[in-house]
Amino acid sequence: MRLLLHIAARMGMALLTMLSVSLIVFVAMRMLPGGFEMIILGPIQTEEARAVITEQFGLDRSLPEQFLSWLVAVLHGDFGISMITRIPIADEILRRLGATVQLTAMAVITALCVGLPLGVAAGLADSSTSVRTCGRLVGALGASTPDFVLGVALVYIFSVWSLGLTVGGYVPFFEDPLANLRAMILPASTLSVFGIALILRTTRESVLTVMTEGYITGAVARGDDPASIVRRHVLRNASLPVMTVATIYLSLLLGGAVIVEILFTVPGVGLYTWNALLNRDYGVTQSAVLLFSGVIVTCNMLVDIAYALVDPRIRGRRQQ
């Protein structure tokens, strides 16, 4: 019962967060200079023509009115249409979700597959060995190179030597898996570099910290072999901060996905959101941000649960 209450409270908070994010984005977007009617018609245009557009989309109504009608529609499951294409936003987001999900999934998996083992290795290695130095170097470099710098460099490099990879040739995976991978490897790698660095660094720190814990000394003193110590004690205990950071990474990833999708012309939700923001296609940005905040909020809840599964102290606190 308590647990249910707790979950309900968390969900309430999550919904509240999403609502406030929506409101903030709504206000922020309307505060941006320039409106949809300017973008769609271009600078050389008459006021009458602009008025036709603003009226057509209800952009001439008061802001609270516009927000409320958007909110009510969304609560009824209606995300509206793109003002540019007049296509239902939900359809368009669904169509593009595949690319973004694939991109982020590839990035996360790469980041975990590369970052975790390297981080563990760097954390376990003696301070003198090159493994640790390399780990530190990769961590620092990767974490401090912005996605767009790396992306621009990659786009340039691969426009000169394609090496079988393509830039801007996105094809849905189920249409042509090979072409899809050729197009997705670069953006996913770009996106994963920061994640690799972040996860590597956190894992290394975390492992280093855990290695100084009494129970590790205890296990060593009992004559356990290093491999089983790592398996039984280090990974589990080191995973807590890594999970937190992985969630943060996921939130950052959504932002990174926007940049990488723009750079590599991956037609995902990020590119959609970004173009909509530039084009002042308000409903699209609103809905996409709602989706993003939903994903982030959900991830946070999932990590919470995962935390509790790994760390009985938290579980205990919850059940009391």
Binding site: E213, G214, T217, G218, A221, R222, G223, R232, P312
Partner: protein
């Protein structure tokens, strides 16, 4: 009978960016199987280093400088990695200061004891261990954070004796505990030692406590064992001036739980072998010889002491020491 643990002139250095600290400076002692030894000394005298050295558990920045240490007849510094692990598994059990830190917070007690038994203990072994250390059967289902400090230390002890070690090393096992629990835990250790026939090395600040529970006392100073002998003897008639000082301060009413540092002057921090007696700067009897010539650990009146002036006629405890200090 062969000693279960024997140190001969063991010297160990910690190397640090700032220089070298000599933590053990020719420590020697030996202990027969089934016996209990209490090592006492001020903070920094090298007790923990010696305790860890027994299992070769010293941190990576430690250099084995000289001497030798044998456990069960095997020189720990000569063993390969698997050899030392095997030795730890078969012959040694360790209990450290902080029981909470010694338990993996993400694992139930029962599981941790099971692992300590080697992974696949006989049915009934875990409850047996729990019962041996005085924990209820239900404790197996508990998470570490659900235990009190005393119970946690019992669990740690259960893990330490899980594979019936021939030697149990306990480094200040009660320092992190409530005063009321200390005697219980020490008594448990002694009871277990008697029950299982293992030897016990107990590292502690408190001479009276050690004297009460251990058969033999070793007094450490400056990385050496400066006096070694049966408890009653050392406690009633300490030979080494440092032992006497230690005893005197203990009697001057050090309250339980208080750190001991009432002897004037500072314990030494060595960076290499001491040229003379390292207690000389603080010793009322020190002369030129004490400062220039290392006193060997020699048999005097049925025990061992490392003092040029100890002649077996040391005064009875408490007689006039304070006036000399």
């Amino acid at each position: 009978m062969n000693a279960i643990v024997r140190a001969r002139d063991l010297a160990v250095d910690y190397t640090m960016p700032g220089g070298v600290v000599r933590a053990l400076d020719g420590a020697s002692f030996e202990l027969l199987p089934g016996r209990s030894l209490g090592l006492v000394g001020e903070s920094g005298s090298g007790k923990s280093t010696l305790g860890l050295a027994i299992g070769r558990l010293l941190p990576a920045n430690v250099r084995h400088a000289a001497g030798d240490l044998e456990v069960d007849g095997r020189s720990v510094f000569a063993l390969d990695d698997e050899g030392i692990r095997a030795l730890r598994r078969t012959s040694l059990g360790f209990v450290f200061q902080s029981p909470m830190a010694a338990l993996d917070p993400t694992m139930r007690i029962g599981r941790q004891i099971t692992l300590a038994c080697g992974g696949q203990p006989d049915v009934g072994r875990v409850p047996e261990l729990l019962q041996q250390v005085g924990l209820p059967k239900g404790a197996a289902r508990a998470w570490p954070h659900e235990l009190s400090g005393g119970m946690a230390q019992r669990a740690v002890i259960a893990m330490a004796i899980a594979r019936r070690p021939r030697l149990l090393v306990a480094d200040e096992p009660t320092a992190a505990l409530d005063t009321s629990l200390r005697a219980q835990i020490l008594d448990l250790l002694v009871a277990l030692k008697n029950e299982t026939g293992s030897a016990l090395v107990l590292l502690s600040h408190e001479l009276p406590v050690v004297a009460r529970v251990c058969e033999i006392i070793g007094v450490m100073y400056g990385g050496r064992v400066v006096e070694l002998g049966d408890s009653a003897g050392v406690f009633s008639r300490p030979l080494h001036p440092y032992s006497r000082a230690l005893l005197a301060t203990a009697h001057d009413g050090a309250r339980p739980g208080e750190r001991l540092a009432p002897i004037p002057g500072m314990p030494p921090v060595l960076s290499g072998p001491a040229s003379g007696c390292s207690f000389a700067p603080r010793c009322a009897f020190a002369d030129e010889r004490c400062r220039s010539e290392r006193p060997p650990l020699r048999p005097i009146g049925g025990r061992l002491a490392a003092c040029h002036h100890a002649d077996g006629t040391a005064p009875e405890r408490g007689s006039g020491m304070s006036s000399g200090m």
